[in-house]
Amino acid sequence: MARRVFLDGVDPWVNWSWLSSHVPTVLADLEQHVVLTVIAVIGGLVIALPLGVAAYRWTGLRLPTLGTFGVFYTIPSLALFALLVPYTGISGVTAEIALIGYNVLILLRNVIVGLDEVPNDVLDAADGMGYRPLARLLRVELPLALPAIIAGVRVATVSTIGIVTIAWVIGLGGLGELILQGYIESFHTPLVVGSALCVALALTADLGLAVVKRLAVPWARPA
């Protein structure tokens, strides 16, 4: 391991001159991190929304779908990457299969809970007003389930941001690449910058989605 030596012999936690000369690298890793996360969350939604609606309608689907994705979710990401690599190679596909699979479980649960919690009176009223099943789903049930669904998106996003730090194992970069560099070179700056950006990204995304929820679900605001 190459240990960096500084003039005063001490490796500070953040070496600002290294940081200022490596802004493009850091930004590229940050961008890659965001891209991997966004694909994983949107991919998870694309699968979990229809599956959740189906499992809400046909309760017999709940046990098999939640069970299957529950097993998937329990398998550690490093192991799941390793199980997929012989088939999908060292690629973004490998990472996204794992990350999307994890998010499906989180989102699926919340979609089902959200839809289950729509009051029966509301459904009766919608039926009485002449809503057909599809219109009732799209214009009454899903909007009322939105708070639970967005809560799921928040958890999925924050978890994904943390797990993506392991994507360097399959050569995908992201902020984990900076942490890895900090480890290999025993150099604190990239380690601290990578970790801090990761936490900041997670908290920013969480806050941003909280704002989205406030705007999307005005009726849930406390009076």
């Binding site: 979710y73 550690p76 797990i163 890895l180 380690l191 908290l203």
Partner: protein, 235 residues
């Protein structure tokens, strides 16, 4: 010979079942690291969560600690602990403990908070002192959620312990990290199977313990605890 067959042969090879890089040794390291982290985490987290839940104070803090825990990058925490403490088990256990604490604090807080206030009044009316009330009324009723918190933590610690190998530690993750480094896909896959099975067995056996520990009287009235645990995944 097809790939899965070679993986099977790797797993069945007696050479992989003894020595310092053998499966029993690596499994032992993995369990040792995980157990120690969960035990230390529980000793720290449960008294905090139980106290806050009993008095109903600092609720936002007790809940948001889980959000914060989820935002911590486990790999970054491990490498940071490694930079501070150097080689050995100490940095791994420190990092794993940090990840074990949040779900246990949140769940034990919520578990005690959700105890029906009428029951607490009744306990007081019957002459229970505060400590007896906590130990004999509130804790038994909170067991389902507390246990769900311990299970969530334990499964995540076992999963994250796989990353110990990434900072020169032991455990079953060794096969995966080495498999990637040597591009030995058979070893990689075999290691992943072992880690996956261990995670599933941990989840399954703790769910069973959870079910056995729930007092019979409240088994029917509570929703299945498994469905109530918050999603918490760090690795």
């Amino acid at each position: 010979m097809d790939f899965l067959h070679r993986v099977f042969i790797w797993l069945a090879d007696p050479a992989h079942w003894h020595g310092s890089d053998g499966i029993p040794t690596r499994l032992g390291e993995h369990l040792h690291l995980s157990l120690e982290a969960v035990a230390i985490g529980a000793l720290i987290a449960l008294p905090i969560g139980i106290t806050l839940g009993h008095y109903g104070r600092f609720g936002t803090l007790a809940i948001s600690v889980s959000n914060l825990g989820r935002a911590l990058p486990s790999y970054g925490i491990l490498v940071t602990a490694f930079q501070i403490l150097g080689l050995g088990d100490a940095p791994i256990i420190l990092a794993l403990t940090a990840l074990a604490i949040p779900p246990m604090v949140t769940n034990s807080y919520v578990g005690l908070r959700e105890v029906n206030p009428d029951l607490k009044d009744a306990a007081r009316g019957m002459g229970y002192r505060e400590l007896a009330q906590v130990l004999r009324i509130e804790l038994p009723l909170a067991v389902p959620l507390i246990m769900a918190g311990i299970r969530t933590s334990a499964v995540q610690v076992v999963a994250t312990a796989t990353l110990a190998a990434a900072i020169a530690g032991g455990g079953l993750g060794r096969y995966i990290i080495d498999g990637f480094a040597q591009q030995d896909y058979v070893k990689l896959f075999a290691g992943a199977v072992l880690v996956g099975v261990l995670a599933l067995v941990t989840e399954g056996s703790l769910s069973l313990v959870e079910r056995l520990l729930v007092p019979r009287g409240i088994r029917l009235q509570k929703a299945r605890p498994a469905s109530r645990a918050t999603a918490f995944k760090t690795a």
